[in-house]
């Protein structure tokens, strides 16, 4: 479904990605784990076209999207929930969800999807006319995922959904991600620092270090890999 071939991305004068290649098949949950600053978020931003790769190729469903504008990429069905959730603080919950459906025009379908996300997160329905900035961290994460779902993603990119959340909330979020994957058949690319968590959820995983992919295997194998155990699982 998505094929990343040897991309190199720069932040100003710093090369953040060196020859990163990743493949994601339809319906999978793929995870990318690695330390802070390893280039995980950059990889996502390159896919979304916000930080365009200078070399290499990104192919989505047979189409080259390497140098496409971010809005075109969203149109194709690649939606990202970025790190830190980035809720629009002064828009209401409902308006935040509207923004997710920015590129869609079919009012009925949108209505149906709103009902769907409200069923996933009943709390959001209660708070729909509250400003996004007044929600708690966990609620914001729920809203962020819901907002992305409103765009009808084929491929959902999630950047550190567990960051800064209480363990109990993290669990809820992970369950929902799984649910989205199975119920909506949405392919999921999950970037996580919490490797333990991510590898439990994912089918396959990639390990990233200083801008390079160093390992790639099934989640199960990775969890048993000694190097991974030592560096990321804290065992």
């Amino acid at each position: 479904m998505l094929k990343i071939e040897g991309i190199q991305t720069f932040y100003g004068n710093i090369q953040a990605l060196h020859d990163v290649s990743i493949e994601i098949n339809e319906g999978e949950i793929i995870t990318l784990i690695g330390a802070n600053g390893a280039g995980k978020s950059t990889t996502l931003m390159s896919i979304s076209g916000v930080e365009q790769a200078r070399h290499g190729k990104i192919i989505f469903e047979g189409q080259d999207i390497t140098h496409m504008d971010p809005d075109k990429i969203v149109q194709l069905g690649i939606i990202q929930v970025p790190e830190g959730r980035r809720i629009f603080p002064f828009l209401t919950v409902a308006e935040n969800l509207d923004m997710g459906a920015f590129l869609r025009n079919n009012k009925e379908e949108i209505k149906r999807d709103i009902d769907y996300v409200y069923s996933l997160f009943p709390l959001l329905k209660e708070r729909r006319s509250q400003a996004g900035g007044t929600l708690s961290g966990g609620e914001q994460q729920m809203l962020a995922i819901s907002r992305a779902l409103m765009a009808k993603p084929k491929l959902l990119l999630l950047d550190e959904p567990s960051l800064g959340l209480a363990p109990i909330i993290v669990q809820q979020i992970m369950n929902i991600i799984k649910k989205i994957n199975t119920e909506q058949k949405t392919t999921i690319f999950l970037v996580e620092q919490n490797a333990n968590l991510a590898l439990k959820l994912a089918d396959r995983g990639y390990v990233m270090e200083t801008g390079k992919v160093t390992l790639n295997d099934t989640a199960k194998n990775l969890r048993e890999n000694d190097a991974v155990k030592k560096a990321y699982l804290g065992i």
Binding site: S48, V50, D69, P70, D71, V74, Q75, I79, Q80, P82, R86, F88, P89, F90, L91, E95, D98, M99, G100, F102, L103, R147, A151
Partner: protein, 302 residues
């Protein structure tokens, strides 16, 4: 005190406030989106007025109906000003995205100087009379001493523009995209909003209201030259900050408050210190409300 006199000053402030508001809207919208004090906004206003003057004069030789001339030249002034606004953004501000904020400010100052001198050289340094294209109508006595016809038209236009803008920002897709972009441009991108388009749109709307203001104000005062943008621009900027920069109702409220301060200050004290009242009032307001009257309090999250 004399109530009639008070009322006169009040209405005078209302007209002046509407004038400020038309220009302050553009300031505040551009600031809201790209966090830039667009120093050259006043110049867009001036170019709008000049374009209308040029087109109206050129058309007046064809012997067209003055109302038609007024409409055509206003519309063309808006179109051209919007194009200037967009071009200016592409040249002077877009390449600076992501640089320190002050660089943008200096670039805007440079743009302002450039545009002023561009008009000065291409046209003239003299004051030119602005053709009076609005059909004259006379108010009856009690109103007559309160407000002039052109002042009244400005008042009405500002009200209409305000309502349209509020509708646009609150309820349309473009408006929502603008609000989202002003809060978090990167996230907006990730949701499929084309930021460049939103910024362009903002400049188009801001420049259009400025041009409309330029035409109406020039009709009101009957003259213009290449320098009219600067002082009015500064005043409108003060109004925008007073109301809380980035907030559209704030810009309008700030404009009225500023105009009333000036009007009553002049009326009851002295016009020598008209601007001093305006600035002192601004300083006092900002001391108690550091983000302006309707501004959002700065996020002091730790």
């Amino acid at each position: 005190m004399d109530l009639q006199y008070f009322f006169e000053l009040f209405v005078g402030g209302l007209t002046k406030g509407s004038i400020y508001a038309l220009i302050a809207l553009g300031y505040t919208m551009v600031y809201g989106i790209i966090k830039l004090i667009n120093f050259a906004h006043g110049e867009i206003y001036m170019i709008g007025a000049f374009t209308a003057l040029i087109i109206a004069s050129a058309l007046s030789f064809t012997g067209m109906n003055p109302v038609l001339i007024f409409l055509i030249s206003t519309i063309l002034a808006i179109i051209f000003s919007a194009s200037y606004g967009v071009t200016m953004e592409k040249i002077a501000y877009k390449p600076l995205r992501g640089s320190q904020r002050l660089s943008g400010l200096i670039s805007a100052i440079g743009m302002s100087m450039f545009l002023q001198n561009y008009v000065l050289l291409a046209q003239t340094s003299d004051f030119l009379p602005f053709p009076n294209l609005i059909p004259e109508f006379k108010f009856l006595e009690p109103v007559k001493s309160l407000i002039s016809p052109s002042g009244f038209i400005i008042l009405v236009t500002t009200a209409i523009v305000m309502i349209l803008l509020t509708y646009l920002i609150k309820f349309t897709k473009t408006g929502k995209a603008m609000r989202a972009t002003s809060q978090d441009p990167k996230m907006s991108q990730l949701l499929g909003i084309n930021i460049s388009k939103v910024i362009t749109m903002t400049f188009i709307i801001g420049s259009s209201t400025a041009a409309l203001g330029g035409v109406l104000i020039s009709t009101h005062i009957g003259q213009l030259n290449f320098y009219i943008g600067f002082i009015t621009g500064i005043k409108a900027f003060v109004a925008a900050v007073l109301g809380g920069i980035g907030s559209i109702p704030g810009a309008v409220l700030g404009s009225f408050v500023l105009a009333w301060t000036e009007s009553f200050g002049t009326g009851y004290i002295s016009s020598d210190y008209e601007d001093v009242f305006a600035f002192l009032f601004l300083i006092i307001i900002l001391i108690f409300r550091p983000s302006g009257i309707l501004g959002r309090p700065e996020n002091k999250k730790v």
